[in-house]
């Protein structure tokens, strides 16, 4: 396939347009690395469960009354953030502000409920390798939620300042991508700690 | 490769190490051949060099596309695959032969790795035939001995090069190894997983002997402590119980602790301090007085006995054959 030797004279975006920018790739690599971190945390869970003796899981039937609604809350917040991003794309600033604002509040609520969830646990950090790993995994996730809500807050403020347009919006797309990541990872953590024990893992 | 290198494993003396040896030689020879051949190709190629200088001489030699040369890679891979495949199959066959622990071992030992010594328990079939010793394992020649490995503190690795490859002793799990000596002799095994300051001085001695000799040793180990025979050893016995009994055991006496090595029949052992010193009354005295000077970092405190006290303790311990 012969290529022309000179560069064709098409107009190129200057700086990031839409998702087309190195920053988008940067957040992609960050997400990949963070996903790996959680993969190792879950690997550790299954490794302990497979090699430890019976009753390694301290809660064979974890209480879902709070955890399940809280999970749904977090996943729903992803949808709300996405709706906010659509607002930026369609130049509906009010929709964008509502979207990021509500997603922020939902994220904060999730984090608070998670703190409450920790207090109700019948074990503490140093009880056993199970409890240590539970608190480390959910704790690292909680830290990611903190970062995520900070980002949502920043996007909210920047949107309020009218920094974005449908074309200049890399920060919005990158921030919302990060928030999706935080939520999807929780689905894996939740499944591991709250669902697999019901399936008989680690008893 | 002979007795001059007590840990060399290219002259194996046990079934398990024997089984690995041909594969080791095969891989070693293939490896050396590969290095020689590659070195030879390299040197020959270099002899065709155009210039022996710097930037100007590089520039002076014209660039050419030359032949594609990918057949070198293709042929190279094809040729290398053969010894690799042989190695792979041989590895699997050898692994199957040596990994499985013996179904009906003649003897079962529990070996516990401690910082920095080996605790050895013989599991006699009647419970009365169970006893514990340290840093020295006696086995009958030609019989398979199952070794169950446990970790007391940190990870160590049990290895008797001339008899068997390494298996780690890991806290919280029991690993299996086995020994079978082909020839009588004394085989040394160093700890081979780094375990702290005195990793260098954590040797186990495996004494492979005829069945008759082994039975005699075994019977001797089952004997209780030898009672003091004179006033010196009597004083020594009392001192031992008082000063050493908090950590050590001599079966059949008041000294019954397990923090340090079991010292029943200590005088019959070949070495002290996990292979650090030959076992003589003199080295024993030196060890008791200056364990930290001889093996820095180890957990036995210097005893600061008076000269007389030391003589008494030695007199008592030397009775424990």
């Amino acid at each position: 396939m012969a290529e022309p030797v000179t560069v064709p004279g098409v107009a190129l975006p200057v700086g990031p347009i839409g998702r087309r920018g190195v920053g988008w790739w940067g957040v992609g690599t960050l997400v990949a690395s963070e996903a790996a971190l959680f993969a190792y945390l879950l690997f550790s869970y299954f490794y302990y469960g497979a090699t430890a003796g019976p009753n390694w899981v301290l809660e064979p039937h974890p209480d879902l009354h709070v955890a399940l609604p809280n999970t749904i809350l977090l996943l729903a917040s992803s949808g709300v953030a996405w709706w906010g991003e659509r607002g930026v794309l369609r130049q509906r600033r009010a929709q964008a502000l509502w979207g990021f604002g509500i997603a922020f509040l939902m994220g904060c609520l999730f984090a608070l409920v998670q703190l409450h969830e920790w207090h109700t646990k019948p074990f503490s950090l140093g009880t056993s390798s199970f409890s240590s790993l539970y608190f480390l995994t959910t704790g690292l996730h909680e830290a990611h939620v903190f970062v995520g809500v900070l980002i949502l807050a920043a996007i909210f403020v920047w949107t309020a300042h009218d920094y974005f347009s449908p074309r200049r919006r890399l920060s919005v797309s990158a921030g919302v991508l990060y928030w999706h990541f935080v939520d999807i990872v929780w689905l894996f953590v939740f499944t591991t700690y709250y669902i697999t024990p019901y399936l008989g893992f680690g008893h | 490769m002979n007795t001059a290198t007590p840990l060399g494993y290219l002259d194996s003396a046990g079934t398990r190490a024997d089984a690995i040896l041909p594969l080791t030689w095969y891989m070693l020879i293939v490896s050396i051949l590969v290095c020689v051949i590659i070195g030879w190709i390299l040197v020959r190629a270099l002899r065709r060099s155009r210039a022996n200088g710097g930037d100007e001489e590089t520039r002076a030699v014209a660039v050419e596309e030359g032949p594609s040369g990918t057949h070198w890679i293709r042929n190279g891979l094809l040729i290398s695959s053969v010894p690799l495949l042989v190695a792979l199959v041989w590895t699997m066959v050898t692994l199957a032969a040596v990994s499985g622990p013996p179904a009906r071992p003649a003897l079962t030992l529990d070996v516990v790795g401690h910082q920095w010594w080996w605790e050895v328990t013989y599991d006699g079939t009647p419970a009365a035939h169970t006893f514990t010793t340290a840093n020295e394992i006696h086995i009958p020649v030609g019989q398979r001995v199952l070794v169950r490995l446990h970790g007391a503190d940190v990870i160590h690795s049990f290895w008797v090069p001339k008899l068997s490859g390494k298996t780690d002793t890991i806290p919280g799990q029991t690993n299996l190894s086995w020994l079978e000596a082909r020839v009588p002799g004394v085989y040394t095994g160093p700890c081979s997983e780094y375990c702290g300051e005195q990793h260098a001085h954590m040797m186990v001695q495996v004494v492979a002997q005829s069945s008759a000799q082994f039975d005699q040793w075994f019977a001797q180990q089952l004997q209780p402590a030898t009672a003091p025979t004179d006033s010196a050893s009597e004083r020594g016995a009392a001192l031992f119980e008082y000063r050493c009994g908090a950590c050590h055991q001599i079966r059949g006496t008041q000294a019954g602790a397990h923090a340090g090595p079991d010292l029943s029949h200590i005088a019959g052992r070949r070495t002290l301090a996990a292979g650090l010193l030959p076992n003589t009354p003199g080295t024993l005295a030196a060890w008791i007085e200056n364990a930290h000077g001889l093996k820095p970092g180890n957990q036995m405190p210097n005893q600061n006995l008076t000269g007389g006290e030391l003589m008494d303790v030695i007199a008592y311990l030397e009775l424990q054959r």
């Binding site: 290529e3 690395s33 090699t51 074309r167 | 290198t5 891989m27 293939v30 001489e57 919280g172 799990q173």
Partner: protein, 645 residues
Amino acid sequence: MKSADLRIPVVGADSIAHQSRLLELWEGKPGLAGFFGSVDHKHIGVRYIVTAFVFLVLGGLEALAMRLQLAGPDRALLTPAQYDQLFSTHGMTMIFLYASPVLSGFSNYLWPLLLGSRDMAFPRLNAFGYWVYLASGIFLYVGFLTGNGPNDGWFNYVPYASAAYNPGLNEDFYSLGMVFLGISTSVGAANFIVTAFRTRAPGMSLDRLPILVWGTLTASVANLIVVPAVSLAFLMLWMDRQFGTQFFNTVGGGQPLLWQHLFWIFGHPWVYAIVLPAMGMVSDGLPVFCRRPLVGYSLVAVSTVATMILGFGVWVHHMFATGLPGIGMSFFSAASIAITLPSAVAVFAWLATIRLGKPVITTAFLFFASMILLFVIGGVSGFMTASVPVDWQLTDTYFVVAHLHYVLIGINVFPVVGAIYFWFPKMRGRLLDEKLGRWNFWTMFIGFNLCFLPMHLTGLLGMPRRVYTYAPEMGWTTLNLITSIGAFVFAIGVLLLFVNIARSWSKGKIASANPWDAPTLEWSVSSPPPPYNFALIPKVASRHPLWEGRLPAPERSSLDRGLLLDSGKETIGSTALDAHADMILEMPEDSLAPLFLSLGLAGAFAGLILKLWVVTAIFGVVLAMALLWWLWPRRALREREPAHG
């Protein structure tokens, strides 16, 4: 639609006016602020290399102290505790603070020049990565110099590393320092990945990338995925030590072997990460002196990636003696033997390149060519340890010590020194002395083999690694003496390199833009390159832009006409696979933010080691705010757009 955020880049020829305009845009500020704020990849690259060499010297001195101790039996030059910290710190230094950063340094310096770009994708992140590397290196060495260096080997097995057996600060320094350093490695890896995929000159498609780019790209993808494993392991260890968690404590249901899994899931790919870029240097450098293209370019590129993919599946071969089930071990054994094949591709490609080329012997060439032999020796000993039963005898003896030094020195240090001879003229504008270079090479080569070849035999004679002394009756005395002598000869060889650099720094022969008549883009710009690298972003039409016309090629690259891009600090962004011009990237100005951010991180880690949680918390908040400020969208961007109705 024509608007301020879309522009047709101007294609033109070079001119003095254009160059001075670019210089104005790209030249850093003078003075301290300019020095500490520089985000120029060339400065950062050289800083990485120099810092890595400082650590190489420190690690080398530690090695010499150990070789004095081991020169004869029962020597008491060092106490066991000192020896343990020395060998652990030596390993940590060489593997984490030298081997990987030095390659990051070369790649940082060279990548934009090889790819036809004006900088890395994230220049400030690049500076940040360097400062974090420096800070974490200092952090770890503060531990060592206060008697709190690591003392459990570089792979730091638990439970010996846990508080019960290791109560000092040693392991706290090591754990926190490694988490700290991991940040640098991760951001560096991310930067390389994005740079490789997004900032290549038009036409620099994947099949035209220099192998060094393939090597570093592969290593970076691996690092991005595996560094979290070791950071997590060290975090768990630190929590066990600090907060009584039970990750590795068997009493609380912990698993010492989990450490080994997490460590080696990281550790083995890491080994490839610190050799693949160096193999890339050889693949790119050797053909220059053989006066022909590399044999089997595509196969070598593919095998680079294949090595790493297989490399993810061989970590258990470090754990053959841990009592794992036989089936699992057979799989890992087979994978470890199979990984020989992709490595062999490179060896045969290099041999064929020399054999079918017209080799010109230079010092750089000698280092590259000798590496082939050292690579093979390190490779075959690795092949031996891949066989489970054989490994049961070989592992944790000096055989493995010999193996890993052939790998790390043979496949990292030799190519790196070759790379210095090769690229120093580009970096400094002066050639290193060839005559001294010969002395340099032969002293290093002979010293190295004198030191490490006998070590294989020492291992076969059963000497375990990590022993601080040995008894005379073990039969290892002569071999150890030879090794110690070899170590000092090798050290003299390395010293000769420094002498050569010092002498040539200002007195060396002036280098032209392309002193070796090499084919790749970095040689198309002056030596040393201008701050903006390329006055014109070239259009690349082959793997060997500077050899076109001499090699059969359907098209010619365009080097004297290209994108001017002088409306601001700009370079070209391109599509990931084919490298079509895709967008104009606006590059950041110099900034002190990376330095301050890494100082903030250092403060947070200092708080952790001193157990002053408040300090850490304060630094944490400051860091979060600084990051927000860093990422604050530039309003200017928005304002350039025409108002929407």
